[in-house]
């Protein structure tokens, strides 16, 4: 399929472009590994004491943390570089070239970049999830749910990130969006039940933080009784549909940098 081929070419090109500056790449990669190790140590300290967070046994809370790490890894791997690129392309008018290609423009602008710096985080996320799943005694069905829910969480964050990135058509510079999203992901490290009630409501109904990590963990643990965790797919699909409509709407306001 053409889009899959394109994806491969984009990512190879973008990783190659990043690695063109060898020294910078090695340093960044090294920093990323160190930071990952530091995070892992923090996780260890926090949970080795057998803490309970909002009624979650520590192994299960670790699952929530694992989803947060996974989402964060995708954030660094794809969303940050593409978000930056979108605002650059609006700024210098090279979005023109994307719009002139017979390819879905939303696909192009959200998939063109990949930053290999996110890879160590991805490994960490997978490792934490794997360990937490094992410690929580997941069965085969539980693992399948975990994979499925993980994909759902990433999809949801993509839709949200893209929605915010689209505003650069008007505001051009959108670096704050990156900070905003990463603090959202940060607040998703703990089960929402660990937050005070007003916060919890805020993190569920205003910011979809609940659906990013707690809901997938509940699904994997087979605690989908109330149906609330299922809502993550609805929220994800809803945000995605909205992000497509919003992108098309925003392009009507794109006047392309003058020349």
């Amino acid at each position: 399929m053409r889009y899959l081929r394109l994806l491969g070419i984009f990512w190879a090109a973008s990783a190659a472009a990043r690695m063109e500056y060898r020294a910078a790449f090695v340093v960044a990669m090294f920093a990323s590994v160190i930071e990952t190790a530091g995070k892992l140590f923090g996780v260890y300290l926090f949970y080795s004491s057998g803490f309970e967070l909002g009624g979650w046994p520590w192994q299960e809370a670790l699952l929530v943390l694992g989803f947060a790490q996974l989402v964060d890894a995708f954030f660094l791997l794809f969303f940050v570089p593409n978000l930056r690129r979108i605002s650059e392309m609006v700024q210098d008018g090279t979005l023109d070239f994307v719009l002139l290609k017979p390819v879905d423009s939303q696909f192009w602008v959200s998939a063109q970049k990949l930053d290999p710096i996110g890879l160590p985080y991805l490994l960490l996320g997978a490792a934490v999830l794997g360990y937490a799943g094992w410690a929580s005694g997941l069965g085969a069905g539980g693992w399948a749910w975990l994979a499925f829910a993980g994909a759902g969480a990433v999809f949801l964050v993509y839709a949200l990130a893209f929605l915010l990135a689209t505003t650069s058509i008007w505001f051009v510079k959108i670096f704050n969006v990156v900070h905003f999203l990463s603090s959202m992901i940060w607040s998703a490290q703990y089960p929402v039940q660990a937050y005070a009630r007003p916060f919890r409501l805020f993190l569920t109904f205003v910011l979809p933080v609940y659906f990013m990590t707690t809901a997938p963990a509940e699904l994997a643990l087979g605690r989908a009784g109330g149906g609330a965790p299922w809502a993550m797919f609805l929220v994800g699909l809803g945000l995605f549909a909205f992000s497509r409509a919003f992108w098309r709407f925003a392009l009507r306001f794109y006047t392309s940098a003058s020349s």
């Binding site: 008018g93 017979p102 006047t255 020349s259």
Partner: protein
């Protein structure tokens, strides 16, 4: 007549831009209550271009050329009027139409900055679904026409401006578009590179029968490529017709060049026509066509001349007059 390849019907575009006074107070006011101004970049421009035609699109800075091209390629929506390319509405951005056209901009580039040109070509080949073998074949052909075969493996950031522009053309034409919109493709290039680009465009057009709409501030580009020119000024259409007609209409002059044997004061020539250069041994005059024979006879009688020649005025001169008059 065949259906036009490009059609503009009463095309207009009005931009709304926020205005800001300089300084901090201005910034504050700008932040709290923005004031907007409307810029009518293009006002009711109409023309048709037949398949295979090469048309030069002229106008001074800010005339609305780029804006018109953006409407014709579907990047922005016209405020009013109609644009059609190959019979279709470009603003709908249908894949079928996008495969048939291209827009080359002298001041923007699509090539991936840190990677060799070939990597960008690989992306475009995948986008237009050209098998890589075929894409390589086309690349070789275009690269030969452009004379850039050797640099395709170098990172784009290490190419000279001229090489980059040629590579840019290559990337824009890999899918063999039938309609080419070129916005100052020779911007900033030296004379040789300009010539190479011109030759290339001519060859491409002959080989593939493509339609070209081309803007440039270098009249040599227009003279070499276009049989027909469209001139706009402040968003309005001023002239649409053959290049020669432009000279007839706006500059019914001939340029008379003299080489004097002895220096003469500039004032001595004022009565013959418009003095472009004088004071030394070399003199250039613009003389109305009706008076030409009389003036030449008088010059021969009154001055000792080493040489005298009569030519069409330089196109730059003619264009300057068109813009200065600002009306048909």
């Amino acid at each position: 007549m065949a259906a036009p390849a490009v059609l503009a019907e009463q095309l207009s575009k009005t931009f709304r831009v926020a205005e800001k006074e300089p300084g901090f107070a201005g910034t504050l006011r700008h932040f709290v209550r923005r004031r907007y101004r409307r810029i009518e970049a293009v006002r009711g421009v109409s023309f048709e271009i037949a398949p295979g035609e090469v048309v030069g699109f002229l106008g001074p800075n800010g005339a609305g050329k780029t804006t018109t091209l953006k409407m014709l390629t579907g990047l922005i929506q016209p405020s009013s009027g109609r644009a059609r390319v190959l019979g279709r509405d470009p603003y709908r951005r249908e894949a079928g139409l996008l495969r048939e056209l291209t827009l080359v901009m002298g001041n923007k580039q699509q090539l991936i900055w840190d990677l060799p040109v070939l990597d960008s070509l690989r992306v475009n080949a995948a986008v237009y679904e050209i098998p890589w073998a075929e894409a390589q074949h086309r690349t070789a052909e275009l690269a030969e026409m452009l004379g850039v075969a050797e640099v395709l493996r170098q990172p784009v950031r290490k190419l000279s401006l001229g090489e980059r522009m040629k590579a840019e053309l290559l990337a824009s034409l890999l899918h063999r578009p039938r309609v080419l919109f070129l916005d100052e493709p020779t911007l900033g290039l030296d004379v040789n590179a300009q010539l190479a680009v011109r030759r290339f465009l001519k060859a491409y057009r002959e080989r593939y029968g493509a339609t070209l709409l081309l803007t440039s501030h270098y009249m040599a580009d227009i003279e070499a490529l276009a049989e027909r020119v469209i001139v706009i000024h402040e968003g309005r259409l001023l002239y649409d017709g053959p290049l020669g007609g432009l000279v007839e209409r706006f500059a019914p002059f001939k340029e008379v060049r003299l080489m004097l044997a002895r220096p003469a004061a500039a004032a001595a020539f004022a009565r013959f026509g418009e003095v472009e250069e004088a004071g030394g041994l070399r003199v250039r005059l613009l003389v109305e066509k009706d008076r030409l024979t009389g003036v030449v006879a008088e010059l021969l009688a009154n001055f000792e001349l080493r040489d005298l020649s009569v030519d069409e005025p330089p196109l730059e001169e003619v264009i300057g007059r068109v813009f200065a008059k600002g009306a048909v």
